[in-house]
Each structure stands twice: as C-alpha cells, then as structure tokens.
Symmetry: C2
C-alpha cells in the first residue's frame, strides 16, 4: 500500500508529518509518499536523523495556507502540495491521501480533483469521536451547513459502510439521526423527511438520537447536517477542555492535592487519552472516488501516524466501491446492504 | 412578591416542590403559591413536617404528564395545575410562574394563556449554563427548531435584556451568534441574515461564536435556533456526564485511588457543582407577558428553591416591560438600548 501525505499541511508540518510518516512506514510496512518541497523535506529529515526507509517524495512547489481561500486549491495554488497529492491519488499513484491542512481547501480539492462518486450529491466529512462504549462516526461535521433530506440519507449510507468495514471490521454499524428528541415525529421538516427515508431503508437505523446520548455511545454512526454536526463536535471539545482545565485546578491547589494527582496519574492519563481526538486518526471525506483523510490541524507525529493507519484501513476495506454499489442499488430501488 | 409554583410538575413533585417552596419562602421572605391538589399537598406537608409559613394554595383538580400532548394543556387538561397557575399569573394573581413539568406544554400554555408580548414572533426558551468565566444564557434551546433571521434577532434582544438585568445586575450582557466559524461570512442563509441584522443593531454584539468557545465563556448571551441550541445543551450534558463517569472510575479503581479521591473531595465537589445545571435555577421563557420559568424536570428541593430565586429576580428586574419597550423601539427603527 502507498499512502500520499501532504507534508506541508497542519500547524506542525513539515517536521511532525515526516516523523509520523517514518513511524508509520516502520510500524505498518507501507510506503508513504511525502508530497512537498523535496529538497527541504530531505534536508529536514537528515538534520533530525529521520530514516527515509519506505519513504518516497513527490515534488510540489507551492503551499496552501489556512488564510488562503479554499477555492485557491484549484486556481492560484493549483501546484500546492495538497493539490499535487490529490491529483496523484486521483491518478492511482497512491491508495489514499492525507492532509492536515485547511479543511475547506481539502474538501474543495477532493470534490473537484478526486471527484465525486456517481450519484453522490455532496461529499461529507466524518469525524471519529470518543464515546463511553466505542468510537462513533459523526457526519457531516461542517462541509454542508445546509442539507436536504436526501443528503442526510446518503451520509447515512456512506457512514454506515465506512464504520462497518473500517472501524467495526465487518460488523454492521448502527445509524442514528441526530434530533431534539427520540420520538419519530421530532425535529423540523428536514429531519422528518430524512427519518422517513431512513426508516424505509435497509440500514440498521435505530431512529432519532439525542445529543445527550451520543457521548454515551448510542449509535455507531450519527447523521446530521454540517451546522449541528459542527456544534456537537465543538461543544464536546469545549466542554471537555473546560472540565479538564477545572480538574487541573483541583489537583494543583496545594501539596496534598498534588500528591493525590500522582496517586491517580495513570487513570487521569487514560481519561485524557480517551478525550484526545488525535487518537482516532483523522476524519474521512466520504463521497469522493478515492480515500481522502483530513488529519487534525494540530497533528503531531503520533496523530499523523494514526491518520496513515486509518487511511490504510480505509483503502484496504475497499469502502469506496461498496459505496458505489450501495448508491447505485439505492437509486434503482433495490435493497441496499 | 408572590411566586406561583406548579406543585405537580417534575419527576420529584409534589414533595420536592413543597420542600423547595418552604425553603424559598423562609430564605427570600416571599410568598409561594402552591398550585395543585390542596388536600393532597397539605397532607403531604403535615406528614413530612414542612412549615406552611408564607405558603398559600391554589386548587387545581388535574395534572398534565410528560406523556400528554403539549396542546392538551389548552384542552383536555385545561384544569391541570400548570394551566391553572398560568391563568393565575396572567391575571396578575402572582408575579411569576414556575413549572418543572413538560417543556412543550409549558411553552404552549405560556404562549396561549399568558400570551406573547406585542411584536414577538415566537417565544424562546433560554437556558442558563456554566462557563469557565460566568454563567451565560443560551437561547433558543428547543422551542423553535426552525428559525427565521428576525426570530434570532428578537431572541438576541430578549436574551440581552434578561441577562443584563437579572444575572448581570445592570451591566450590559454581550451577545454572540452561534456559528460554524468566527468569520463574518460563516454559516447558512439564516445565520448570514441574522448576522447582518445584529451587526446593524445597538446591541453589544460580538459577532459569530464557535461552540468550542461557548463553554469558555465567550459571550453572556448565545443566540441560535432551537435545533442547534438543543444539540449544544445536550452535548454539554452528555460530555460532562461521560467525563464525570470516567473520572469516578479513575478514583474507584483501588484503595490508593480512593484515598486520592478523599484528598481532593472539596475540589471535586466544586467541579460537580459547576456542571450542575440545577444550580442555575431554571430556564426563562422569553417573549410572553409575564415571567415564566421552566425548572429542570428532575428538580429537587434545592433546584426548586433556586428556580424561585430566579423567578423573583426576573420579576423584580421588570425585564418584560424592558422587552416591550425595546421591541417597540426596534419596530419604529429607533435605536434600542
């Protein structure tokens, strides 16, 4: 397997990207293609004594930043590492593409350079998040702030196939529709229409789910529009950060509390790890013709390594041809697995 | 001041409602009118040795449950304690009304029995929530799942006046519009139009706010539609509950961790208290002609007492006539304070 990595995407690029690529190449035995300024990347690797075993390079002369307009990935910055990498994966020169750069630019680039799967209205960004039971997939988490019911229906199919074959290794992933209550009739017109479509489908649809039950692990896939998906994701991050910050205050109060912190150090570090989205290895962009993963903007080497692992699993499970089959069958009115 | 309390609303009614009323009457020197089945309430108070000082009764023969249709508060259950109490507060027989019963029924009852303030499109439910800095008001938190920009604009005015005069005692409360990013152009059509209205207004509008920054205390009032408001509120509750549950696991692991828990007991209890929405005393229904407060469904005596305190402050600050003045001025194109 060959994974193409945008070496210049993210707050800690290119150093942490190179480190993560080296870790992944060693641990998973895959080839990682570093897309970016080859001389600069080689010099940095040499300086930091990072092994180049199983690493390759794909030259790109430009970089797109967080300040650049997302659309510039197709025009002013069409030769940036993100665009070059996306064109390479689209041409079959790699099995998957990863970037920790601008989400908007990556979505734009994936949609127009890798292109949509036939029948997909709009690609969605999924986010794998922690719950008390097991990680779940939330989608859309910001790509489409306004959604039609048919889009939510497609998100459900794509999310179901991704989770069933990547995170759950073949076990069917349950699907819930985010809503303001669990009753069938809850929500606005969009939720009601999406509910009806999902109820009719052959998906393992568990009905409407409330945001309160999502962190408890109520469903493997939680479907919603990009606006409320973004609100859910960021409220979770903000609340966790507020509690962890206050908890730190509890432990740093005095000598006795500092001693207490030492006594539960392992447990606290597990808790912190549970809430750390970097552990989950990035967000799949679903609905385009090749596996594309958005890694967190502040990814460190470990997060890049995890994103590469997820990209490998995404490619190996052949989720994209499963989505193609499902959407074609759905269109023809046949039952969808 | 006379506060009318629905003695039969909530999971722990009527006992905790009576206890809370007695605590409030003693602590705040107000009169609390218990609305419900007087013989039953008197018998319970006697049995539990609860003082009836400053408590009065208003007989209601029926009760509305969580399973009843919200609309039944106006028809099949028009003589329930909630409806009787709402009619009494509308008639000026009390300064405020509180219920921990069905949110839907209370909103319906408040809208049609207490009636809307002239010019208000739709009443909103505000929720006072904890942040790292100070409590903030989130509205709407579920009454209106679909909102027009003008509704969000009115919510901003009402929320601003409520927070400025109730929780901030005259200091102007800042207003933020919940969005998927902080840039002015973020969001869908509704957010963009609401942003333009708010930008033009004389409110202390700080612009778009992200859900991630809300628990950090970015604004005193956070305005959004009922769908994402509900998602934000419930994600916060669900995330806090997941972390607190895991934290419990960390401390109950072994003898050493249990000892550590004892050493930081005070701090942990403060943290739990910070996250406990019952501390904040209930959610105002804004946009109707009299102060109406929705107390949490699982309110205990302390939560009922806190809700009565908030109801007193709501009435004393005369927020409703301030809203009337503001909306009239806004309509006439004059600057609104």
């Amino acid at each position: 397997m060959r994974v193409i990595l945008d070496a210049h995407g993210g707050d800690n690029a290119p150093l942490e990207a190179i480190k993560g690529a080296a870790l992944a190449a060693k641990e998973y035995g895959c080839t990682v293609v570093l897309c970016g300024n080859e001389p600069e990347l080689r010099a940095l690797a040499e300086q930091e004594k990072i092994s180049l075993d199983n690493l390759e390079f794909l030259q790109a002369d430009d970089v797109i930043t967080m300040e650049d307009e997302p659309g510039s990935v197709l025009k002013a910055h069409k030769d940036c590492s993100m665009a070059v990498g996306l064109r390479a994966v689209a041409a079959g020169e790699g099995d998957a593409f990863i970037s920790a750069g601008s989400t908007g630019a990556l979505l734009m680039g994936a949609t127009f350079l890798v292109k949509r799967i036939k029948g997909v209205s709009r690609p969605a960004i999924g986010s794998v998040l922690p719950s008390e039971k097991a990680p779940y997939l939330l989608l859309d988490m910001g790509a489409n702030v306004e959604c039609r019911p048919e889009m939510l229906f497609q998100f459900a199919h794509m999310g179901h196939l991704y989770m069933s074959h990547v995170l759950k290794h073949g076990e069917p992933a349950s699907v819930g529709l985010l809503n303001v209550g669990t009753e069938d009739t809850k929500g606005g017109e969009i939720q009601k229409a999406a509910f009806a479509l999902l109820k009719e489908s052959d998906l393992p649809f568990i009905g409407n789910v409330e945001a309160r039950d999502v962190p408890a692990g109520v469903a493997d896939v939680v479907v919603t529009d990009g606006f409320s998906g973004n609100v859910l994701l960021k409220t979770m991050e903000g609340t966790a950060s507020m509690i962890m910050h206050n908890l730190k205050g509890v432990f740093f109060k005095n000598t006795r509390s500092k001693l207490a912190a030492l006594m539960v150090k392992g447990g606290l570090s597990d808790l912190k790890k549970l809430m750390d989205t970097a552990e989950y290895g990035g967000a799949p962009i679903l609905g385009v013709k090749r596996p594309v993963i958005k890694a967190h903007g502040n990814s460190n080497a470990r997060a890049f390594k995890n994103a590469i692992r997820v990209a490998l699993e995404f490619a190996e499970a052949d989720v994209i041809s499963k989505i193609e089959t499902a959407l074609t069958a759905e269109k023809e009115g046949e039952p969808v697995e």
